[in-house]
Symmetry: C2
Subunit: 394 residues, 2 copies
Amino acid sequence: MQQDVATAMKTSLEQSVIQALRSVLGDGSCVLHEPRFQGNEQAYVQECITSTFVSSVGRYVDRFEQELAAFTGARRAVAVVNGTAALQVALQLAGVQAGDEVIVPTLTFVATANAVHYLGATPHFVDSAEDTLGMDPAALKDWLKHVAEPTAAGSRNRHTGCPIRAIVPMHTFGHPCDLEGLLTIAHDYRLALVEDAAESLGSYYQGQHTGAFGELGALSFNGNKVITTGGGGAILTNDERLADHAKHLTTTAKQPHRWDYVHDEIGYNFRMPNLNAALGCAQFEQLPSFLASKRRLAERYAEAFRGVESVRLMREPKDCRSNYWLQTLLLDEAVADQRDAVLTATNDAGLMTRPAWGLLHQLPPYQQCPRAPLSVAESLARRLINIPSSAGLA
Amino acid sequence: MQQDVATAMKTSLEQSVIQALRSVLGDGSCVLHEPRFQGNEQAYVQECITSTFVSSVGRYVDRFEQELAAFTGARRAVAVVNGTAALQVALQLAGVQAGDEVIVPTLTFVATANAVHYLGATPHFVDSAEDTLGMDPAALKDWLKHVAEPTAAGSRNRHTGCPIRAIVPMHTFGHPCDLEGLLTIAHDYRLALVEDAAESLGSYYQGQHTGAFGELGALSFNGNKVITTGGGGAILTNDERLADHAKHLTTTAKQPHRWDYVHDEIGYNFRMPNLNAALGCAQFEQLPSFLASKRRLAERYAEAFRGVESVRLMREPKDCRSNYWLQTLLLDEAVADQRDAVLTATNDAGLMTRPAWGLLHQLPPYQQCPRAPLSVAESLARRLINIPSSAGLA
């Protein structure tokens, strides 16, 4: 009898979620996030091909960089091949070297830790805050008290003896994390702060666009992001010298010369092709309307889920304006064991949903890395469901 | 008086080169290499945008990979974001690890050594052969006799104690190097052979397409290559297991699952966007005509430079069919000191030319790496001039 009641409740949660989704999305199927090309995409890309400048140089790259800087308020933007590459180079320019340690959230896409690893550094995983889904300053502070030893040159891990060089907060699904709290700690421990802003184009913290609060930040324009360049990313910074260096490093570190090929350091083949920037310029023109649509969708979802017990829609944190890149449901802990049933039922119904990424400290390649207590992230990962979020749905 | 004669001779060489170039190229200016978009580029890219699949998945990527495999005769091709990324992953899959040593030519684009460096390995530089411009088997053999100690597991550097893991021949400007000689040595010393075939799409050695003679190879589709995807590259291999692994590694090593995000190793965000593959598919259809045009251009240049003293056009090596990607003049050593005057005069005349890349062992980041005697490469670098080479010039 108790078993029957439990089963009936589970069915009820799944059906309630589907009903709420349908009340916003209507009938038919719906992907999690798809790009929208209803502006000048075809025109700009055609013009780009006609110009023959589809590759490493071209006016769309310059324009895209200028528009990104103007929109985000960062002094400079450097367009690159994807968000992972942007983060790798941003970390390198923030001083991260082989043998260093870098603190990242465990609740993030794997690229955050991969970028650290590519530089020969080791990620530490810290917990997230329930109200932002991002790196929790209190958890960070506790962890640093435990592991970090301040030195004249910065902080050192008292157990390994290696420098702890940087923290990499990530703005989860477009919700800004507590940058003020994190910046204070970064300052106290003399750590670089590099924002993984891959998901937060159009998100603001205390009125300022995310991505350039620390030394550098990284954006992504992957196909599933607010705007896309097919594949692409950008480095943001307010430091002209770092921006020039970022451009140099991401274009094979070739010294300017009429014909000589001399590379004065080990650079990367990371520049964004002009073809992709052409798509990006057209997407950029529509960014305000995409953001408005996503905000409307959040309102409609919030309304639709108001009556659904044990489920709430993630709303923008205090003093923040989120881009609502991926809309997010949070189940109450009491019904967390029904998450997979909800995922199955919604996907079976053609309404694409997905859980959080596998927490990084649980992934095979990162299981041996240092980690702080991660109970909030573990709880969020059990309870979190992303629901259809494309611009144009509302 | 002698000074005057010398000056007269120099003027004469520059003017002779310009005259020979003009006899082929006509009046007006001419860039070194530009892409040609006169096929289905606009149609495929438009269709790609309309489909909304511009990013990490899409049918153009699959088609491009299948066409590359069919054309090159390699069992599999894996499309990636550029040639450098292709080479990095190819080397990793060939077993190159941090602390290893890898032998590369000094006469190559910097990416050949960078790919080694990204894996934490150290490049050794060896000499090139005059007849191929590529890695010289005799020089490689002499160098290995000097540094390599065979062990049960492969070869070890007798001075550093580190494994020597692989050799990376590169097919300079599209001219295949002596693969048979190199494969024999690689076999004897149990070294992996990974071809840097970035420049040799459409080039054949003993009737077989370059790029899959060893464990793996890397192609490039940068804007200046025989065909372009804006930015792009591909890994070639005849080993299905390595190809599957290459696909996995270059797509963030995510395990297939309906919704879970689990990455079982540290992968890369290296997949080619579908937008770029759409361009590539259209370019691919024209590859035979591009290759035919480049071959005609080589014939016309050869004829035009037949009468120019102290200068010869680089022709395809014995038993090879070159794609003639970049047409190359070689000055006699006696007039090598006039190279810069020729470069200046031709570029001033609007005929774009350039010398070889700065030799890698002379670049600041690689000056401390081990190197064999490099007298042939040093001579080639003094004497070599690339001249306008675009498809469609003949």
